[in-house]
Symmetry: C2
Subunit: 346 residues, 2 copies
C-alpha cells in the first residue's frame, strides 16, 4: 500500500519537488517564477519533476509570504438584485485574467452586517475591495482604508483618499429621459418618484427639471408624486396624476417596477400606450422587454460598471506594488452615463 491514490494523500510541497529533482526549494521557486536564471538542464529537470508530481504552489503559503492574496472582496446589499450579479460579472471579466479571485458578501443593507463583513475581509487580507451599500459612504469602509486596502465604492457621492467612487449618473439619466419624451412631442410630463427627497431618485428628478427648463418648459410641482418603489407605488402614483385637472400625457417612473404598476392602471382604464399616455421607466430590468407594451426605459450598463470597477482597482493594485509609500494618484470619481432603450411604451 503506497497510499498514493488515497483521498488523504498529503499534498505535494515544494520541498518534495526539490528533493526529487536534487535541488533546493530556492531553485524550484525560481524556475517557477523565472525571477532569476536557472541553468537549462536543471530547469528541465525541475520542470519534469513538477509535472510528474503534479505540484502547484500552495497559494496560502505564497500569500502569507508575499502579503498578497490575489483576492478582491465584493460586498453588496443583495446579490439577488440583478444589478449586482451583472457588476460581479464585469468585475470577474477583467480581474480573472490577472489571477484574482472574488469573495462575495451580502449585507442586506444592514450596517451591522456591513461592518462585520468589511472587518472579515480585512482579516482575510483581501488585496482590494468593492463595496456597494444602499447608501454607500466612506465611513462604511474605514476599516479597509485603514488597513491600506484600496476600495471602490459604488454609488457613493464623493471620493476620498483610498476610496474611488463609481456611480450611475442619475442626473443625466433624468435629463436624457425627459429630453427623449420632449423630443417625441410630450410636453406635459409627470414624474412618479420615490418616497424620500434625496439619493438617486431625487437626482433623476433634478435632471428632469433641468431638461424641462432648458427646453423652455415650465416645471410644475403638481406633476411630481412620491410613492413607494413598487408596482403598487406605480399604480397609486398614476392614479393620483390622472385625477389632476390637467393630467400629464407622459409619465416618468423612478424605476421599471413602478412603471409596470403605472401600465397596470393604463390597461385597466383602457388608455392606449403610448398614444394616450406614454410611460417610461429607469433601469431596464429583464421584464421591461417582455411585457406588452414593451417598456421604454433608461439603461445603465452594470456589467460595464463592474469592468470599470475592476480596472480602477487593478490600477490601484499596480500602484501600491510599484511605489511603496510614494503618494498614490488622486482618488477618482467616475460617473456612468445611461442611455434610452426605446421600446413601445414611449
Amino acid at each position: 500500500m503506497t497510499g498514493e491514490g488515497s483521498a488523504l494523500a498529503k499534498r505535494v510541497a515544494i520541498s518534495d519537488v526539490a528533493a526529487r529533482a536534487g535541488v533546493s526549494p530556492t531553485t524550484v521557486s525560481h524556475v517557477l517564477s523565472g525571477r532569476r536564471h536557472v541553468s537549462e538542464v536543471t530547469r528541465a529537470r525541475v520542470r519534469s519533476v513538477m509535472d510528474e508530481l503534479g505540484w502547484e504552489p500552495n497559494q496560502l503559503a505564497r500569500s502569507l509570504r508575499m502579503q498578497r492574496t490575489q483576492t478582491i472582496a465584493l460586498i453588496v446589499p443583495d446579490i439577488t438584485n440583478p444589478f449586482y450579479p451583472s457588476v460581479a460579472r464585469g468585475l470577474l471579466d477583467v480581474v480573472t485574467e490577472p489571477g484574482y479571485q472574488v469573495l462575495i458578501g451580502n449585507t442586506d443593507g444592514s450596517s451591522q452586517a456591513e461592518r462585520d463583513l468589511v472587518a472579515r475581509m480585512v482579516t482575510r487580507s483581501v488585496d482590494a475591495m468593492v463595496f456597494a451599500g444602499y447608501y454607500s459612504k466612506a465611513s462604511d469602509v474605514t476599516a479597509a482604508v485603514e488597513a491600506g486596502i484600496p476600495v471602490a465604492l459604488m454609488g457613493g457621492r464623493r471620493a476620498s483618499p483610498g476610496i474611488d467612487v463609481l456611480s450611475s449618473d442619475d442626473l443625466a439619466a433624468g435629463e436624457i429621459a425627459t429630453r427623449y419624451l420632449i423630443g417625441r412631442g410630450y410636453h406635459r410630463i409627470g414624474f412618479i418618484t420615490g418616497p424620500s427627497g434625496d439619493g438617486p431618485p431625487a437626482d433623476r428628478v433634478k435632471g428632469y427639471r433641468r431638461a424641462l427648463t432648458s427646453a423652455g418648459l415650465r416645471f410644475n410641482s403638481q406633476l411630481i408624486v412620491r410613492e413607494e418603489f413598487s408596482r403598487a407605488g406605480g399604480t397609486a402614483g398614476l392614479q393620483k396624476l390622472l385625477e389632476l385637472r390637467k393630467p400629464p400625457r407622459a409619465v416618468l417612473c423612478t424605476n421599471d417596477m413602478v412603471a409596470i404598476g403605472a401600465l397596470d392602471v393604463a390597461r385597466a382604464r383602457g388608455l392606449r400606450v403610448p398614444d394616450d399616455l406614454a410611460v417610461m421607466g429607469f433601469d431596464d430590468i429583464e421584464a421591461a422587454a417582455l411585457i406588452s407594451p414593451a417598456l421604454t426605459t433608461i439603461a445603465g450598463d452594470p456589467r460595464e460598471q463592474g469592468r470599470a470597477v475592476g480596472r480602477v482597482l487593478l490600477g490601484r493594485l499596480e500602484e501600491t506594488g510599484r511605489l511603496e509609500g510614494t503618494a498614490a494618484s488622486l482618488p477618482q470619481r467616475i460617473l456612468f452615463a445611461p442611455s434610452v432603450v426605446p421600446r413601445e411604451s414611449a
Copy 2:
C-alpha cells in the same frame, strides 16, 4: 513621527500583543481560542491589550497552520442567470454564520474554464466546493475530489464518493404541471420542449407523459415540438402546434421565456388566454408575474437549494473534521420538488 496613523502602518501581530502583555504568543492564542485554561488575571490583561492594539488574528497564517481556510468555492456557468444568485444567497444564508466565506467563479459553461477554476480553487485550499455546470458531471470536479475537498454538484445525475448531488426534480415538475392542467379540464395538451432529447427538458416531458398516462389520457407525439430555449422558440413552437388538424387547448413550455414567446402568438392571433388556450411555463422568472396575462408556471426554490447545498457541505466538513480517515457517510442525492404558481395564463 510615530507613523502610527500611516496607511502603511504594519498590521499588529500576535507577537506584538504577547510582548505588550508580557506573555508568550502561546498564551495569547489560548485566550483567544479558549482551548486551554489561562489564569483570570493574565486573561484580562491579554484581552485589554488585544483591544488596545485592535489585534485580530491573521486568517492567512491561521489557515496555513490549520489547513482550513473557511472558504467555499461556488462555481457557476453564469452568475447573471438569476437562478445562481439565488443559490448563492441561500448558500451564504447558512454558511456565513459558522464563519465561511464564498469565492465565486464564472465559467460560461466552457469546460476549459471549468477545469481552470476548479484547479485554482484547489490551489487556494478551499474547504469545500459547489459546482454547477450546464451539464454537470463528476469528471468536472475530479481535481477537487482528489484533493479531498467535498463537493456538491448541482444538477448532476448521480452521486459518487466525495460528491453529493443536488438537483431539481424535473420529472416531478413535468408531472405536476400536467396534472394541474388536467385538473383544470385541459385534456389536449401540447409541449414545447428544447432542441435536444435529454437533460432536464427531457425529464419534464417524461413527467408530462407519465401524468397523461396515469390520468388515462393518450400520449400523442405530434403534440411535442422541439424548439430553441427562447422567446422565438416559443413563437415558432406554438405556431406549429396551432397548424395541427386538432390543435391543443393548452401548452406546456419548457421554460418561461418560451412561454412568453407562445403568449406573443396567442396575443397576435387574438386568442383569449386561458379560455381559448392555456399557457404554462417552468422556472418562475421575475417577468412571469409582471406580464399580462400573468404566467402560470412551475417554481423551484433556488434559494432553498442553495441553503440545502450549504447544509450538506457543512455536514461533510464536520465529518472530515471529526473522523480523520474514517469512512465518510455515503454520498447523497437530493432532489428538489417544485410546485405550481397559479396565475392567469392557465
